[in-house]
Symmetry: C2
Subunit: 316 residues, 2 copies
DNA sequence: TGTGGTAATGTTAACGTTAACAGAACAAAA
DNA sequence: TTTTGTTCTGTTAACGTTAACATTACCACA
């Protein structure tokens, strides 16, 4: 007990003893065991973060935002990912809760029934991030992906692109929202829609592959809007290979505003999303909950920004 | 106890009772608590993976390799990262061990003295990954970064590049090894070396910035070898902006062979590294250790592949 | 010398699960 | 009916830490 005290409340232990204890701990290389404390208090001082993928640059930045807040507060981030599979997500939720995480940050609104139930009964704060249009009863922090895609499509339409195609990849909630926004904008202008989709994750090479395919299937295509920057960039490379001029022949727009999109040639048209801010806000919200203050708002909707770059036609 | 048994050894419980128990668990949304088991057995069935960064694509693929092996074996991956700071690394090692991870995968050979001691006394298998030339006493799985950089430099020299500069970023062990290899190759050809470095992480925009700077500082530069593909790609964009022809005026080589490097124009010269394989092998090794079989080899050195692409001059 | 008070150290129980053992229930054979 | 054996269910203790309470040590002052 005295040892425990000399670590937690050093001033309650006499100087001599404290020094002897510290020396002994150093010599032994003692590392406190968190299991008993977690067991007796059901508090792990760890926050679970459950994301679809770590490979996706977008989520890496969300994590950075989360940790920038949790770290100074003394909370450990416990990362898990589920590869866009609802079944794996269910398992991950169970695992995180079984480790007694003090709160959970998740990134999708559609779950298996069992997962849904676990989230409801978790007994710890749960926050859903990324898409603000979600209908889930949880606290939500994100952007309006539907509106963002609609805006971007309208921007391309305004600049003379007509036969615009949507490149999707993994069909998660957010991508479905983007497709909806794209379809709304096209419908408003009386144009028909074409969506390329796959079960595979988005990547540069998938973008290139999609471009090759769409030229076969819809040679009239003069604009493409992608669910992620990497698809758009891969597609631009494929255009360059085939001597298709971007944006004159085909306009190209991405989503998220990754570092490369803002360094490449032509500069990519893209929707800049506040990924790090989403992570930061989610973490702040959780800290508030854990400190007993109920968060003010059910849903926090952040702004996105349409960046026109050089890969869509310029405004006449 | 019967409940516990009906979960772990269902056939030891009568059918009726098992069904009643299952119904009750379902209704309650019961999630087993791992803390007591961790406490009493000092086994968490979780493996700690400690990487410098999650933002770096390279490590995302290592993680995929690790999980592809651990997941089917029923082990949970517990990810942590330390942003290239040895002090943070020390804290992370302590945290992971305090959660009773059953083994540790780390990715650097230089640690604080305290971290070093913790690793020695961890009482669980520790494997160091990424660089096989490490002098640490741990089990090591990686590639020879020094030889890889030397080979790539020599390849560029063979193809007529002379004033080759090295673009580094975060100065971790691996980057230092690459610089060493570059310097060896240059010295063998009686050429002088120039290394650009920074504390910042590598990125596309950093590559562009480095290129602008090197043109000022060393206008005679006719070749660049980078510690990571993103630097090289950023530098190529900067060249395109300035109408510098790659590879005619400046040859450019990256490291790792990321997806984009193999889709872009010009195809990037790069060293293709077996990142996923490193993760897989490390995980397999750990499973072996945990099953009581001592692993065969102290150090496993994997092969890399020099990919010449189109961003260095072609062989005459 | 004793008394009162404070500072320092010690004791106990609790957290939830499971291994190991103990006991009960039941069926088949004597 | 009792005995034997098997199948099922119950009891206990252990894991390491810390909150809460209990005790001891020490010093100042009467």
């Amino acid at each position: 007990m005295t040892v425990s005290r000399s670590i937690r409340n050093p001033d309650q232990v006499s100087d001599t003893l404290r020094d002897r204890i510290r020396a002994a701990l150093d010599e032994l290389g003692y590392i406190p065991n968190r299991a008993p404390d977690i067991l007796s208090k059901s508090k792990s001082h760890a926050i679970g973060v459950l994301l679809p993928s770590l490979t996706n640059q977008v989520f890496a930045e969300v994590i950075r935002g989360v940790e920038s807040v949790l770290e100074p507060e003394g909370y450990q981030t416990m990362l898990a990912h589920f590869g866009y599979s609802k079944e794996v997500e269910e398992k991950r939720i169970e695992t995180l809760l079984s480790y007694n995480v003090d709160a959970l940050i998740i990134s999708d609104s559609v779950h298996t029934p069992k997962a849904q139930k676990m989230l409801e009964n978790a007994g710890v704060p749960v926050i859903e991030i990324m898409d603000s249009t979600s209908s889930s009863p949880l606290h939500i922090i994100g952007i309006d992906n539907c509106a963002a895609a609609r805006d971007m499509t309208q921007t391309m339409l305004d600049r003379g692109h007509r036969n615009i195609v949507f490149f999707a990849a993994r069909m998660d909630t957010r991508t479905l929202q983007k497709i909806k926004g794209y379809q709304q904008a096209m419908a408003q202008n009386g144009l028909k829609t074409v969506v390329k989709e796959t079960e595979k994750a988005s990547s540069f090479s998938l973008g290139a592959q999609f471009l090759d395919e769409i030229l076969q299937e819809h040679p009239e295509t003069d604009g493409i809007i992608c669910t992620n920057d990497d698809l758009a960039i891969g597609a631009i490379y494929a255009c360059q290979k085939r001597n298709i001029r971007v944006p004159e022949q085909i306009g190209m727009a991405g989503f998220h505003g990754l570092d490369i999109a803002r360094a490449m040639i032509p500069l990519l048209a893209t929707v800049i999303t506040p990924r790090e801010e989403i992570g930061r806000l989610a973490a702040k919200n959780i800290i508030q909950c854990l400190n007993g203050q109920p968060p003010q708002m059910q849903t926090v909707q952040l702004d996105y920004k349409i960046e026109c770059g050089e890969s869509i036609r310029s405004n006449k």
